[in-house]
């Protein structure tokens, strides 16, 4: 007879299920991303996931941890997919490798592995490559919806593995600044948003191609909400805070301030809302804290977009909010049942009266 302590009916939803659901929820975004930017996205993803498992395995071995249960929890794969989605599709292979090295080895395992890391691994990896390879990070492929074509497989593989384009091709022809970058440079040059917005790269909802990717992330996010993998708190707070924070400026001066829709539909804000800021390990534990965390991510992202040195600030926003989590948690503890303000005794007895 075996005697073991509870849970007597352990949950069928395991850590691997949770991570797996997030990966599944990324499928629409990955599909749209690939359609918009070409097969480079998939190559980046395969490389990043490969590096992720390699580093994960090496670190588990180095730390003397069991390989089986931890390698199968899908958390390394998820970090790889998320980082790959942030990288330009034609970025050289070492960009992704460096990102994964910092994501898995430094951010995750040096802080104690699964469940112990303070900072979102994918965002640590991305922040490192933004700083280390600024040049590579600016070469974003022109979306299919803008020039009607994406690079073919040969171009993709050459660019990624050699860092050079096939002869006769130039980065200028193949790539362009991201809409966020374009706006930042345009505003710095004294242009109004109306003038900048004439460019076809801004599409229908704020930035061509990117807007469909954002919507695909939203779709995946709805799946996560539906399966109760995440709660509404973080995505709700990010989206609502973005709208509320960007609305007054846009209403006063639409030439200087971007519309809430454009803020949401360009860059990685929707991705962050559903997939990055919702990372449970590095996020707040309390429902109220999740709202504060989401508001913080939106606020810092918008601030970096408006005044910072980078076109998009989602990674830095998430990392900065990761720093604040202990403080947020300490101040947003839920009221324990029976510790709230009590109503008078008579009112309680009256409530059971027959209606």
């Amino acid at each position: 007879m075996s005697v073991t302590t509870g849970p007597h009916r352990p949950s069928r939803v395991r850590v691997s299920t949770v991570m797996g659901r997030v990966v599944i929820a990324l499928i629409p975004a990955v599909a749209v991303h690939t359609w918009v930017f070409g097969t480079g996205v998939l190559v980046q993803m395969a490389l990043a996931v490969g590096w992720a498992y390699l580093f994960e395995g090496v670190m588990l071995w180095a730390r003397g941890r069991a390989l089986g249960p931890f390698i199968s929890d899908h958390s390394a794969a998820l970090a790889g997919v998320l980082l790959a989605l942030c990288l330009p599709p034609l970025a050289p292979w070492y960009v992704g490798a460096t990102g994964m090295l910092f994501a898995i080895v430094v951010a995750k395992h040096l802080y104690g592995g699964l469940g112990q890391n303070l900072f979102n691994p994918a965002m640590v990896g991305f922040a490192v490559v933004i700083i280390a390879f600024p040049e590579s990070l600016t070469h974003w492929v022109t979306p299919r919806s803008v020039d009607g074509a994406v690079p073919d497989m040969i171009t993709v593989l050459r660019a990624i593995f050699t860092g050079h384009l096939p002869s006769g091709m130039a980065w200028d022809a193949l790539s362009q600044a991201t809409p966020l970058d374009q706006i930042r440079q345009g505003l710095a040059a004294g242009q109004t948003l109306t003038e900048i917005g004439q460019d076809p790269m801004f599409g229908g909802l704020g930035s061509a191609g990117w807007e469909w990717i954002a919507l695909a992330y939203g779709l995946g996010g709805l799946y996560l909400l539906k399966t109760q993998t995440i709660t509404w708190h973080v995505p709700g707070a990010v989206v609502l805070a973005t709208v509320i924070l960007s609305l007054p400026g846009w209403l006063i001066d639409p030439d200087q301030f971007r519309s809430p829709l454009q803020q949401l539909m360009s860059g990685a804000l929707v991705m962050a809302a559903f997939f990055i800021a919702t990372d449970p390990v590095t996020g707040s534990a309390t429902p109220k804290g999740k709202v504060v965390f989401g508001i913080g991510v939106a606020l810092i992202t918008l601030a970096i977009r408006a005044w910072g040195g980078y076109p998009d600030g989602v990674a830095f926003a998430v990392l900065l909010m990761n720093l604040c989590v202990p403080l947020i948690d300490a101040y947003t503890r839920p009221t324990i049942f029976g510790h709230g303000s009590a109503r008078s005794a008579s009112s309680a007895a009256k409530r059971t009266e027959r209606p």
Binding site: P7, R9, S11, L114, P280, G338, R343, A348, R351, R354
Partner: protein
């Protein structure tokens, strides 16, 4: 009144798994060879004055319902022999769920001709309760050893006495919210009138004006609606002096927990440091109400209870009318389970129940359910992974705690910090462990932490008591010393003058003479005089007196 004004926070709707044991009427347990009645008072304290309260001698024959252990005070209820047989004495054996704690048991070797006790019939519809006073009810509860049958085993007489006059509404709890546990539903199907009449008797003892019978009615489709049955019986029993309502609450675990039920019914969260009585409410289990009826009207002591023996490991899940002290293994065999199976045997439900270490151990008045769950293959039951802070536990916690943080604190032995985060407010419902994707033994860690904190509180209280005693002794000694000092000084002053000294001496001589001429023999008186003298001296210097 079906709507919930403000449901309790957290919780989860679970599959009830109750249809199988409710498919047949309550089964009387066959005659066991022996019964071991656990002797542990409320909250696991040892029974006080055991020798003095024991009403039978080892080797003595007892009849069914005979008093074994007398009612001590309201906190220590009486215990009766469930079946006829021979009382063989006190035995110390392991408790079912705790291999380390041995509890005293009263052992009865059941007579070979003892008839198994059948579940009592329901009360007749034309029973008249007039003439039964509050005192009658309370005395009957004491005499018959009635305790809270919802699991807490709190003596009902004491609960009622504390609530007298303060309670406006008596809530009869038929919300067997935990999956598999169907004993309350079985009783409501079998004895609705006994429950209603028992509730009326309790309400009379409490001087309560209203009764609310709350239930979930989980198998209404398969076995008929309990709400309808209870309402029909209310009609049949006719008009009464108290208002009685039957309220169906939503199926949501842990709806049957006292404070969660009050929240759902009244919208009031009872503050953690107060009892429902402060809000004019008292919650009592349906089985307790039925047993209050049996005690008051039929003077039937509480010797049996309905236990659900169920789970996938049982061939025939059932509700058993089992004598207190029945062995868990006997109940499992009765329901077609095999005790040697590699199953997970649980005393209680799948969420809040505790693993059974010893199948030979016996049930007590608070045992609701014996559950047999199949042991998963090792691939399904992996070792726990680290907490990933997913927050599933936060969203289900009915106490609104942060279970993952409490777990980490408990694991690192930071129990005082855990207490500051509300560890003692945990009701051990088990939902956090049920939803945890890392399969962490959360409740286990909480139980450990709470035990530690309780032990700490006990130690602190003991220290404070010791300190108070020490301080009082110090103060007493000082007082004595200063009094002696004052007396010595006074005598020294008196001896200063010659005349006074002379008269002192004469007085001493006179005392000595008086003693010599007394009734005692000379040697004895000499001794006495001496002792008196040295005693006088000693008093001044010895701090121990």
């Amino acid at each position: 009144m079906n709507a919930a004004p403000a449901p309790f926070p957290g919780g989860r709707t679970l599959a009830h798994h109750k249809a199988a044991p409710l498919a047949q009427p309550i089964v009387p347990a066959p005659r066991p060879r022996a019964l071991n009645l656990p002797l542990h008072g409320y909250a696991g304290e040892p029974e006080p004055d055991l020798e003095a309260r024991l009403q039978v001698q080892p080797g003595q024959r007892v009849v069914a319902g005979e008093l074994l252990l007398a009612h001590q005070d309201d906190a220590h209820p009486a215990l009766h022999a469930p079946l006829a047989g021979v009382f063989t004495g006190l035995h110390r054996c392991a408790a079912p769920t705790d291999p380390w704690a041995a509890a005293q048991h009263l052992q009865i070797e059941v007579a070979t001709d003892a008839e198994p006790v059948q579940p009592p019939d329901d009360a007749p519809a034309d029973l008249d309760l007039t003439g039964v006073s509050a005192t009658d009810v309370i005395e009957a509860l004491k005499r018959c050893g009635v305790v809270g049958l919802g699991g807490a085993r709190f003596p009902t007489a004491e609960k009622v006495r504390h609530g007298q006059g303060a309670v406006e509404t008596l809530i009869i709890n038929g919300v067997g919210c935990e999956p598999y546990i169907a004993c309350d539903e079985a009783l409501m199907y079998a004895r609705p009138r006994a429950i209603i009449l028992g509730a009326r008797l309790l309400a009379r003892a409490l001087a309560a004006r209203r009764i609310v019978i709350a239930l979930e009615d989980p198998v209404a489709d398969a076995h008929g609606s309990l709400v309808t049955r209870l309402n029909d019986d209310l009609q049949a029993l006719g008009p009464v002096d108290v208002e009685i309502d039957v309220v169906q609450v939503p199926e949501r675990y842990p709806q049957g927990a006292e404070r969660q039920l009050i929240q759902t019914l009244t919208g009031q969260a009872i503050p953690h440091h107060q009892l429902p009585q402060s809000f004019g409410l008292l919650v009592s289990n349906v089985a307790t109400a039925a047993s209050a009826f049996d005690a008051t009207i039929h003077q039937r002591p509480l010797t049996h209870r309905v236990v659900t023996v169920t789970g996938p490991a049982m061939a025939q899940p059932m509700n058993v009318y089992a004598p207190i002290g029945s062995a868990v293994a006997d109940l499992i065999e009765l329901a077609g389970g095999r005790p040697d199976d590699n199953a997970r045997w649980v005393l209680g439900g799948p969420l809040s129940g505790q693993p059974i270490h010893n199948l030979a151990a016996s049930i007590d008045k608070g045992s609701l359910c014996v559950l047999g769950l199949p042991e998963e293959s090792s691939s399904a039951r992996q070792s726990p992974l680290p907490c990933i802070n997913c927050g599933f536990c936060v969203s289900v916690c009915p106490a609104q705690l942060l279970p993952q943080q409490l777990f980490k604190l408990a694991q690192h032995g930071q129990h005082t910090e855990a207490q500051a985060l509300g560890m003692m407010d945990c009701i051990e419902c088990g939902l956090c462990a049920e939803v945890c994707p890392s399969h962490l033994p959360l409740v286990d860690a909480y139980r450990h932490s709470k035990d530690w904190l309780r032990a700490q509180q006990r130690d602190e209280r003991a220290q404070q008591r010791a300190k108070r005693r020490f301080d009082a002794r110090q103060a007493r000694i000082e007082k004595q010393q200063s009094a002696d000092q004052a007396r010595r000084q006074a005598r020294a002053e008196r001896l200063q003058s010659q005349a006074a000294a002379q008269s002192e001496i004469e007085a001493a001589l006179a005392r000595a003479r008086a003693k010599k001429t007394g009734p005692h023999s000379p040697t004895e008186s000499g001794k006495t005089g001496k002792t008196g003298e040295s005693g006088d001296k000693g008093n001044g210097g010895d701090p121990a007196t």
